[in-house]
């Protein structure tokens, strides 16, 4: 912002009679003022495309700084102080990165840990403090990776179907998109009731198939699978919608050309559809990954955060669990933001050269 003003002032005092030629004929007190305005306009026009774009983005960045970065910095500062469960002051003295050490070594004052692995001297050199399905970082990453991959594949298939012309297409579209219209809590209740032995048939069925234990909602591994399936059931529709938008923008004549050239269906998919849909696909995957990384509502309304702890679960439990451990809550929240940031970073790095230029 400061540079901008400086530049403006510089141009203002510039003797070059740029703006003056236009308004020069009109004398009066407003003369100086209009000269300034025109100078600013001219300065903006002389900017390169990129610089101009950044200039227009400035207000948005300012807003983002205020509502996103400032709270994050505050959170970080809070996370460097001690917990204080008694007294009016919610935070104790400065403790440096102690809270981070605690959450990364499985010693945080939480019922479920962020990460709980120790190093050993023998192969495989790490040991688990608690089962993997009870560690928030693992649960969240596994959930994000599996759900996004499966949803992308299913969503692609659904989008392909929706893109075809056939009778009854309208009904199929409705059927595919319907789960997306279900609110999260209702979605959670559906799967919760499905696996309540007195209500749904889910437990008996899955148990007789030997896949689940008798009480799947109390078993971390079973409940993880239930939540995964619930999410895939619902969110595949979202992927299908975004991919469909990409598919429909593909120029049909390209396929005709390919056919004439003798390309097989697989070649047509690989060489035409996929590259052209890729930008839309990546945006869809990025959105889903971010969503999956902060999963909370679905878990809370199905098996509960105790059985399937996600990163967001830990933040909520630490913040509102009852025992005042705000510093730990802040550390978990900041670490969660870092993890999500890292994953977004991976997307940006991996796909920056992709045709279509995601960013």
């Amino acid at each position: 912002m400061t540079t901008e003003t400086d530049d403006g002032t510089g141009i203002d005092t510039d003797p070059v009679p740029d703006g003056g030629t236009v308004t020069g004929g009109e004398p009066g007190p407003s003369h100086e003022h209009e000269r300034t305005g025109n100078a600013a306009v001219n300065w903006m026009e002389s900017l390169s495309e990129a610089a101009y774009a950044y200039l227009l983005l400035l207000p948005a960045f300012a807003l983002l700084t205020l509502i996103a970065f400032y709270p994050m910095i505050r959170t970080f500062v809070m996370s460097l102080r001690a917990n204080q469960t008694r007294g009016l002051d919610p935070l104790g003295g400065f403790v440096g990165i102690e809270n981070y050490i605690d959450i990364l070594t499985g010693n945080a004052r939480l019922a479920r840990q962020f990460l709980d692995v120790g190093l050993t001297s023998s192969f495989p050199f790490i040991e688990l403090g608690t089962p993997l399905f009870q560690q928030a970082l693992f649960v969240t990453l596994a959930f994000a990776v599996i759900s996004v991959v499966v949803e992308t594949v299913i969503g692609f298939g659904q989008a392909y179907v929706l893109d075809q012309e056939f009778t009854g297409r309208r009904w199929v579209r409705v059927a595919i998109i319907l789960p997306w219209a279900v609110p999260i809590v209702i979605q959670g209740m559906i799967f919760f009731l499905l696996f309540q032995p007195t209500v749904g048939f889910g437990s008996d069925l899955m148990q007789s198939l030997g896949i689940f234990s008798a009480t799947p909602l109390a078993n971390s591994r079973d409940a993880f699978i239930i939540i995964l399936v619930a999410d895939i059931w619902k969110s595949s529709a979202f992927m299908a919608l975004l991919i469909l938008a990409g598919l429909q923008s593909v120029d049909r004549s390209l396929y005709d050309v390919a056919r004439v050239a003798g390309a097989s269906p697989w070649q047509r998919f690989k060489l035409i559809t996929l590259p052209l849909v890729m930008p839309a696909l990546l945006v869809a995957m990025l959105f889903r990954t971010m969503d999956a990384m902060r999963v909370y509502g679905l878990i809370e309304s199905t098996a509960g955060c105790t059985t399937v702890p996600s990163l967001s679960c830990l933040v909520v439990e630490a913040m509102f669990g009852g025992t005042r451990i705000y510093a730990t809550a802040a550390a978990v929240a900041f670490a969660t933001a870092l993890v999500i940031g890292l994953i977004i970073g991976v997307y940006v790095l991996l796909f920056r050269d992709t045709d279509g230029g995601m960013y």
Binding site: T85, R86, L88, T215, A218, T306, G321, T323, R324
Partner: protein, 436 residues
């Protein structure tokens, strides 16, 4: 003040009908003071979050917060409540201290100094409900059970036989999901009835830091093994002499899910709160066939190692009223609390909402036709109040509670042996206590 819709619905009435507000005025509250309710959800954890947000932000109104007896103490320790011992008239304090249920008062006092910081509005107690008709048909005499519960062995045999004879799906349903209700209440009761304790007896409930941790004691482990027997029959980590009577689904059940099969006539017995008596004891439900008692036991109080444990046990729930120190109307708020400590007000709350009066002597004073089935069991309520065991609700309790219910739930499910689960838990609790 804050309240859920159940209390909000009876605070005011249309026209001249009875209401809590009218009773408060009749009890001498200034006619200019009208209690406005800020309705909150009924879920206790969510209500704690609402209260916490308001008090951490120093926001008022609400001038009076309705706090669960399970999480009043943390707010007291954070200086977020007004000291009632300093502010209420001596006469009121005297009445409260002499007549209110002592276990409820303990959840509303500052652990250091013992000053009263909240006024119990109503206590709640955990009862064991059973089908008297089915158990009698199976050849057991339940005559004395109401105030003199049987031992667990007799109880479980009776439930098994009654279930088999009546051809029901379930015997005994209870709550054993990994949630607060397990650590505060159902497991606390079972453990106490075995003579076990979290922190070496009832004397150490409210003083975190320097107290023994006794969750790995043999009594506690036996209590878990018995529950394992109830769930799994003869299996690993179970106890001889206790048949399978609970569906394995109890490890993912909370109150309503455990009540449903019982209310639907598919179970012989259910452990639940007083509202369940009101729901299943009416004439169009089980009527007089509904038996109510406190928990069966395994170790009598005389045989128990620690103070005030062993014998029958009843978990203590319920709600307290605390005045916000940030209120601009503290004077008025204190007047409202003063008016609540009144016989007629308590009876009005009981009659209109079915909430037990904190002075439990009053339960017998009302006509059962006025308040529903609960009054029929006045003697059980009385005996329950004598055997009430509060949870150790310190500022660390929410954190420790989560550790406890996870460990107990894992042991119930059999994924960890009771010994291993309790040893791990003891270490974790030790770490937590060291933070004080």
């Amino acid at each position: 003040m804050t309240a859920a819709s159940d209390v909000a619905g009876i605070m005011h009435s249309d026209g001249d009908g009875p209401s809590i507000q009218q009773a408060l005025w009749d009890a001498g509250l200034d006619e200019d003071i009208r209690v406005e309710i800020q309705t909150v959800v009924s879920d206790s954890a969510a209500r704690m979050q609402t209260t916490q947000s308001a008090l951490e932000a120093g926001r008022a109104p609400p001038d009076i917060h309705m706090m669960d007896s399970g999480w009043t103490v943390p707010f007291i320790l954070r200086n977020q409540t007004v000291n009632l011992t300093e502010q209420l008239p001596d006469e009121t304090l005297q009445y409260v201290n002499d007549n209110y249920l002592e276990a409820s008062l303990e959840t509303a006092r500052a652990p250091q100094g013992g000053d009263l910081h909240a006024l119990p509005l109503f206590p709640d107690l955990g009862f064991t409900l059973y089908r008297q008709d089915l158990i009698e048909d199976a050849g057991y005499d339940t005559g004395g059970w109401a105030t003199d519960p049987p031992r667990w062995e007799e109880f479980s045999a009776a439930i098994r036989d009654a279930r088999d004879q009546a051809g029901l799906d379930y015997g005994f349903t209870t709550q054993a999901a990994a949630y607060e209700g397990l650590s505060c209440c159902t497991f606390n009761e079972v453990m106490t009835s075995w003579g076990g304790a979290y922190y070496g007896g009832a004397d150490n409930l409210f003083t975190a830091g320097d107290r023994p941790i006794t969750v790995d004691d043999q009594r506690v482990i036996d209590a878990i093994r018995m529950m394992r027997s109830f769930i799994a029959g003869e299996e690993e980590h179970t106890l001889d002499g206790y048949p399978q009577i609970c569906p394995s689904a109890i490890v993912q059940w909370t109150e309503q899910q455990s009540l449903n099969p019982f209310a639907g006539g598919e179970a012989v017995s259910n452990r639940n709160w007083s509202y369940a008596i009101a729901e299943t004891g009416t004439e169009d439900a089980f009527g007089e066939d509904l038996g109510v008692m406190t928990r069966p036991y395994a170790v009598s109080q005389q045989e128990a190692q620690y103070s005030d444990v062993g014998g029958t046990a009843v978990a203590l729930g319920g709600w307290n009223l605390a005045v916000s120190p940030f209120s601009n109307r503290e004077e008025e708020a204190l007047q409202v609390l003063e008016a609540f400590a009144n016989r007629e007000v308590m009876l009005t709350v009981f009659r209109l909402g079915g909430f037990l009066p904190p002075n439990l002597d009053l339960v017998g004073d009302v006509d059962p036709s006025d308040v529903g089935p609960v009054a029929r069991y006045a003697d059980v309520v009385q005996s329950a109040s004598e055997n009430a065991i509060p949870r150790p609700a310190t500022d660390l309790w929410p954190e420790q509670s989560a550790l406890i219910y996870q460990a107990v739930n894992a042991a119930y499910r059999g994924v960890q042996s009771p010994e291993a689960a309790m040893n791990d838990l003891a270490n974790e609790l030790e770490q937590s206590e060291a933070e004080v």
